[in-house]
Amino acid sequence: MRWATRSAPHVDRTACAWLIARFIDADAQFVFVDDPDDVPADATPFDMRGAELSHRGGECSFEAFLHRYELDDPVLWAIARIVHEADLNDERYDAPEAPGLDVLMRGLSMVRADDEVLALSAPLYDGLYEYLKRAALLGREPA
């Protein structure tokens, strides 16, 4: 399946792309556009104005994906809180990781092409997932 989002992906879009590839569509292909009108007819848009899989009711697009695909893995929701704060910074959640993740993703999008940004950020989200999973099992920060 093809998925479309805005170019120069930062934290919410990179996290969504990772979520799609790992949990929703193993054959996902991503298209980057500058205007919602340029989304190809066969692609599902996300994190863009007017898209269903986008910001809704004060939530970021990553949270919209978790709702829409009924992903109730608590580790994904822990990632959602970090992505929410990195993207919206509205202090709904206590996520000290958020400013760091935001800066890393913004910086990455300055030096690499859009598809490379997705390829490079995916292992970071894999790592974040593993870390938060271990933290949940241990009940403390894993070494």
């Binding site: 120069a8 930062h10 104005r49 007017g50 986008s54 910001h55 809704r56 009711g57 004060g58 919206l88 910074n89 509205d90 400013p99």
Partner: protein
């Protein structure tokens, strides 16, 4: 003198429910947007401010209102200076409040000083994010918080 690129949000929201109005007002305040008119706000344009105003436009539409996002240039440098000065003054007042709190905290016991330091650092970070035209108060406010941090460090554990 050349003028910069701005992003504008023009919106109309129904009076009820007031929760949507309050949420929008809070978000605009957090962004440090300049209110040009009732229902028209402006921010210097960059990828973040543009994106944030687009999300707010969506939230206005979701709440039953109307909203459009525009990229614009002020018609004159003088107009731009006027808006920028107003934004700078708003942020400057926030820095002054921070500075005052940091100085007052110096007289409190070390435990209270540590808690105040954490809060002021977070607040400073918030204010810096909306300080688009670096206010002159930025440096002294940052210095006052740094001094508070130094006074906490000097106390043996």
């Amino acid at each position: 003198m050349s003028v910069g690129q701005w992003v504008l949000l023009a919106y109309r929201l129904p009076r009820e429910p007031s929760t949507a109005r309050i949420a929008l007002w809070r978000a605009l305040r957090r962004l440090g947007a300049a209110q040009l008119l009732d229902g028209l706000v402006a921010l210097p344009a960059d990828s973040r401010t543009r994106e944030q105003l687009e999300w707010l436009a969506d939230s206005v539409v979701e709440a039953g209102g109307e909203a459009t996002v525009w990229l614009a240039q002020p018609g004159s440098a003088a107009q731009e200076r006027m808006i920028a000065a107003r934004m700078q003054a708003d942020v400057g007042a926030e820095y002054r409040k921070l500075m005052q709190e940091a100085k007052q905290a110096q007289a409190t016991p070390v435990g209270a000083r540590k808690r105040t330091l954490g809060r002021l650092r977070r607040e400073l970070r918030r204010v810096r994010r909306r300080d688009y035209f670096p206010a002159p108060e930025r440096e002294p406010a940052t210095a006052a918080v740094d001094e508070l941090a130094a006074s906490v460090e000097q106390v043996p554990a």
